[in-house]
Symmetry: C2
Amino acid sequence: MTSVSDDSSPSVRQRRPTMRDVARLAGVGIKTVSRVINGEPNVSPGTTERVRRAAADLLYEPDLHAGNLRRADGRSRTLGLLVSSVANPFAAQVHRAIERVAIEYGYAVLAASLEDDPAAELRAVTALARRRVDGFIVTPVRDDQSYLRVHVDRGTPLVCVDRAPRGIETDCVVTANVDGARDAVRHLLSFGHRRIAFLGDLDRIETARLRREGYVTELAAAGIDVDPALVVLGLHDDATATAVARRLLTLPDPPTAIFSSQNLITIGTIRALQQLGLEHKVALVGFDDVETGDLMKPAITAVAQDPDRIGRLAAERLFAHLDGDTSPARQVVVPTRLIVRGSGEIPAPGGAAH
Amino acid sequence: MTSVSDDSSPSVRQRRPTMRDVARLAGVGIKTVSRVINGEPNVSPGTTERVRRAAADLLYEPDLHAGNLRRADGRSRTLGLLVSSVANPFAAQVHRAIERVAIEYGYAVLAASLEDDPAAELRAVTALARRRVDGFIVTPVRDDQSYLRVHVDRGTPLVCVDRAPRGIETDCVVTANVDGARDAVRHLLSFGHRRIAFLGDLDRIETARLRREGYVTELAAAGIDVDPALVVLGLHDDATATAVARRLLTLPDPPTAIFSSQNLITIGTIRALQQLGLEHKVALVGFDDVETGDLMKPAITAVAQDPDRIGRLAAERLFAHLDGDTSPARQVVVPTRLIVRGSGEIPAPGGAAH
DNA sequence: CAGGCTCCTGACAACGTTGTCGGGCGCAAG
DNA sequence: CTTGCGCCCGACAACGTTGTCAGGAGCCTG
């Protein structure tokens, strides 16, 4: 029956139908339409059918936000996600995992990319709060998240991913950064390396600090002093990493192995090694897997994170809170996995310590 | 003066303040608060200051959706983005570019990942429509987008990215798929290849069809018949691509070059070549650049798309419509760029045609 | 046949905000 | 002194929906 509305090509601007319009067409009260749309009980089958038909004829779409205004739970069925950078493959994977869970719960995801800019974090939280998202999943970029307390107190749960928050106690899902870094370094040590360089991201980023801590701890456990000349921090893109790696590798007493503590840094380091023709001589282990690492020569040994699991766990914690879970904040640590492919198994020259 | 509200640790659930609360605290009418919050004129400096202070004290955040309900333009300052897959690096780059433009305009982005599932496209559009996004940027997945007509007619502009829509006339920003594919094939022809394989994505995806068209056209222009045995469609992940490439390469009369028409397919193909030890013997050109393509041996020659430009142009077209531009629908084609790195410059054995 | 229960339905207020409008005040001009 | 105008300001309705409530119809029970 659904009468196809006049289908002439010159599409004209039309008013968007409301429940009122549907009610009029179906010859019922507006509240009855509301009941049918929301699947509430106590509407006769005949009425239900008439309302359904009218809604379909008008291509009616309910206004979720208008409903929330009055609805008891006030839920917008939207959650806010703050990601370090949409273009970072790790973050993209986390995003996808979160969205998958969100869809299961009938939620949409408002995502904002921070590009590791502290000001962007504030801007994005404000933008999301004004849109009344039901919950936040945040990758902390600022060095203090206490400003989020007020949102939690007002009933908007918060889960942090990838990095622990500061200034607020809240659920948080992170990679085992220290252990993963120790694994990487231990692996290199087991191939006889004693001069292992560390290439780290900006030290204000928590994961960068933790990975450095793992590096230092594992060296200490092996009785090796950290050579400050082999530790470079503050790298955030591959070009800088290439330059720094070249400098280290051309030192009078260069490292025999490199632990690069982040994706882009690893890529920059590989480029430097290839440029100097050292990719088969100097060992390399990266933190965070490089997607095509198995296609390079040598293939890249890496400490892989599990972004899918991290995203899923974070989303599940958030929905648990939305379902009323009030258990105390806890930190979930997701272990890493060392993927052995070749670049990390190049033995130290001579095999003995310096 | 901003009195720091009682900072005891046991954070208690609090009511979210409204304009009413701010008005009461500032001792003014609610409409005056509205004026101050929205920067409307004709409020005395003293009153403005009192309202500002009250709003800050209460940590008031306006409810954007409640405002839209009444606001003349009814703008939610949110736009909906449907992306083929959040995990696809190309799509992620497009997403980022769009978000950058959106932020400039004070907009937030509601993104949904479709995973190339036609049903997901419908679901996502409905979810976004109910949230009253001001505009759609859609990567078409279904074979018909006419269902979006009604949203456009009701004043929600639509721009398509990456793939042209069907069943509706609307702005659209796409890669020069045919020309790019022809460039790739011409490049291989110039190195003497006559048996060039084509590895394509699912044929229901428009870009896959267009790239195949480019392949066929360029071969025809060179007077070469397409050997059906060398054309494989329907590949959508790297594992399948690897299997298919292996099969082709072990044919009695194998191809001397491969044109892989998508990112993941290229990766799968490289893996097959390496497994068979043919990576320096069989030429390869990929459509869509592989991020670490320069680190492989041989480095990968690719037809690079420009996701940044595509995303930016799409967002700008959308905002132009939101600003009242009513010019007719147009298709913007973004050219590709052939990046020569090595894998595509392996000459055909013998150098002569079959 | 009265009373009570269940089912179905719609009038109305309310959600938090903005548009409209009109009133009060101060000041300049007639 | 009156008039008129511009600036501030708040009461009120309205946006599209849902919660509350009360009323009517139908049925069963005693």
